[in-house]
Symmetry: C2
Subunit: 422 residues, 2 copies
């Protein structure tokens, strides 16, 4: 089935808004086993909209139109859809009543121009929007089925998942259910993960599609599983899921909606623990990842960032002699011990980075010294990364958090990651 995604609106056409709605829709389709075939972007312009609808009606089987359902005069989707389908616009009484109710509950009166949002092409299929005033609708133009969706990302995403995808699967003759299982890993690149998981999609006899999405320094491994019903999906997924966990091993930092930092927070909260962080060069990124989580109030104690080891020593209460060796395992360990004592946290994490001298460049690297202190003592980890200033910073912050995760979960902190150069 050929699916076209058609974005409308001057803000998108002119580049003022980056078209993240497009990439979201395309990714979701692929995850469901559907294939985006063509993408079109046009402005709030009647002639362009009509031309785009007519072209899409000829080349696609299904068209997802995004945007142009608002109450203002430059929102033209309903009008142009009706014109392209050769029908008129009629008032959808039920939607008008819902909108009036929507305003009433907020103690406001519906502005008269919102009425426009209930004018839909004659004979179209109404599609609910439980969280906004722009309802969706579907109608056939030429040989294609068109689905109109609101431009507000939150409303579009919900309508896509709840309303459009089931209709598209039916239209494409795809039956059953699909589930997306996600693994987040740190330390392995896409090509290495691909090797490590070679043949894994064969385990379920083709019912599972393996995919990757790299966002340095993390890699997301996705299993899209299809089956007749939820039970079949679970039965197919279980052995493959277990095998992925086994093969990727300690590199898996979290699954599904969990993250590296939420796993750390959970592990600390479970044992009534707390954490303090001291870092250089990473600009406070390590602490920020934990401190910004909901529920971090009871776990995150203190974060200290400085460009200078001496400043870090003063702020943590480490003896100057203990850090006289510069960025080294000994200094990292001494700072971690001092920070644990001065902050009263159960765990202290220290991340030191010594960037190379000279101008930033692709080969630019840095030495990384990490330490975790807890009641049982101090563990340290040394690494070297390269790839430019920002690359090293981001990699060092991730390595530091992963070091804490591994320590908390009883895993080895010394396992080499792909981004290391030594």
């Amino acid at each position: 089935m050929r699916i076209e995604i058609l974005a409308t609106g001057d803000e998108i056409l002119g580049g003022k808004t980056v078209n993240t709605n497009y990439s979201h829709v395309a990714r979701r389709l692929l995850e469901e086993g559907l294939t985006p075939y063509w993408g079109t972007t046009v402005g709030d312009d009647r002639a362009s909209l009509l031309a785009a609808f007519r072209q899409a009606a000829e080349r696609a089987d299904a068209v997802i139109v995004n945007g142009g359902l608002g109450p203002t005069v430059d929102d033209l989707s309903q009008e142009c859809a009706a014109e392209a389908a050769g029908v008129g616009l009629v008032l959808h009484e039920a939607w008008l009543a819902r909108m009036e109710e929507f305003y009433k509950r907020r103690s406001r009166t519906m502005p008269p121009n919102n009425r426009k949002q209930a004018m839909l092409p004659e004979g179209c299929e109404f599609i609910d929007n439980p969280i906004g005033t722009a309802c969706g609708f579907a109608l056939s133009i030429g040989k294609a089925r068109f689905f109109f969706t609101p431009g507000v990302p939150r409303e579009m995403k919900r309508m896509l998942d709840e309303q459009l995808i089931p209709r598209l699967l039916k239209l494409g003759g795809v039956s059953g259910v699909t589930r997306l299982k996600r693994f987040h890993s740190f330390g392995i690149g896409e090509s290495r993960a691909d090797e490590m998981l070679s043949g894994i999609d064969g385990l379920a006899g083709g019912a599972i599609k393996l995919g990757f999405q790299a966002h340095y320094p993390q890699l997301e491994t996705k299993l899209a599983v299809h089956g007749a019903d939820a039970a079949e999906v679970e039965a197919r997924l279980a052995p493959v899921e277990a095998e992925v966990r086994k093969r990727l091993g300690n590199f898996v930092i979290a699954e599904d909606n969990d993250s590296l930092e939420s796993v750390i927070l959970g592990a600390l909260a479970n044992r009534g623990g707390s954490v303090a962080v001291a870092e250089t060069v990473t600009g406070g990124a390590v602490a920020a990842r934990i401190a910004s989580l909901e529920g971090a109030e009871s776990v995150f104690r203190r974060g200290i960032v400085a460009r200078d080891l001496g400043q870090l020593g003063e702020a943590t209460g480490a003896r100057a002699s203990a850090i006289s060796s510069g960025v080294s395992p000994a200094s990292a360990g001494a700072l971690a011990g001092a920070l644990k004592a001065s902050s009263g946290a159960s765990h202290a994490l220290v991340a030191l980075v010594q960037l190379d001298e000279g101008a930033d460049r692709l080969e630019f690297g840095g030495a990384i010294e990490l330490a975790v202190a807890d009641a049982s003592g101090v563990v340290t980890r040394s690494a070297r990364m390269s790839g430019g200033r920002d690359w090293v910073r981001v990699g060092a912050a991730e390595l530091a958090l992963d070091c804490l995760r591994r320590h908390l979960l009883g895993l080895p902190v010394e396992e080499r990651v792909d981004f290391e150069r030594r």
Copy 2:
């Protein structure tokens, strides 16, 4: 002149890569007085590429094709361009030599499949790429002039600015030069800025186009100026530029490539000063903005983040009694004084946030208490913002940095910003 932007590649079509190249090109065109008219996205698929080229050749005057110039078999732009234009591919000897030289300088041998990147449609115009192995080219298909550009953003952007825009301006009969002047402001929304600058584009008799780009909490105000030559552009811009500065006043935090944090860094460096930061709830974001800048080594002394005022007191050395009033101007001031003393920095910035109780929601807000300490004493600033947890955090960090900027530049720190609710 109708310009189409045509993105190619499975990664873009499938949503794996967000199409930021599209929005960059569209924005740059608008800034130069050119108008994007249509956007198309297709995958690495011969039939789709040919169909897309042929449709664009009919509806557009100029087409910017992005991607598909790489060395691998799925890079099809040259081939399909030649086919659509009805010509063959010929080896561009000079580009092949340049590529070989490129590899030689890196002490590597050019892989044989890179030769493909020097195979260009017969009779096309060569377009240089000084920083990569994918050269660009231009040729006419149907009634449109096609410009082929590499998918790598850095290479595409440079080619767009240096090579494509002059050609497009010539093609569109636009003569002379255009300059883009940018003002970054904090504290005013787009509609208020629009009011404050009302009539300003009239000052230059229509030769200046005013535009805004909001990325909360900052607003970018752009003046696109056109003239016969650089001198005319400067002459037209000077009075308008001065008027924008006057009307937006203290809300302008930086201009052109400067930023709020680089202005702060510059002001501190100029007086041989340094800064330490203590913050709650903002997760270290205030310190991170300064600490991550190049050249911050000599200025940024120390950053402390904690969720708890007591922890912040211990880490800065403030007396417990001085912060017993909780998140208040008195506590912020006491912490700033203590931090200045313990860090040895010339300036200390404190940002305290007290979020509302309860679940995150759109009306969710927080109280913000800021203080700056320097040799002359302590200034404080209180504010309240709402709009959800993240919105308050981001706004508070910006307000804190702006407070420091204003103090360093001798401007009032108390000026109300649009995002405040009180």
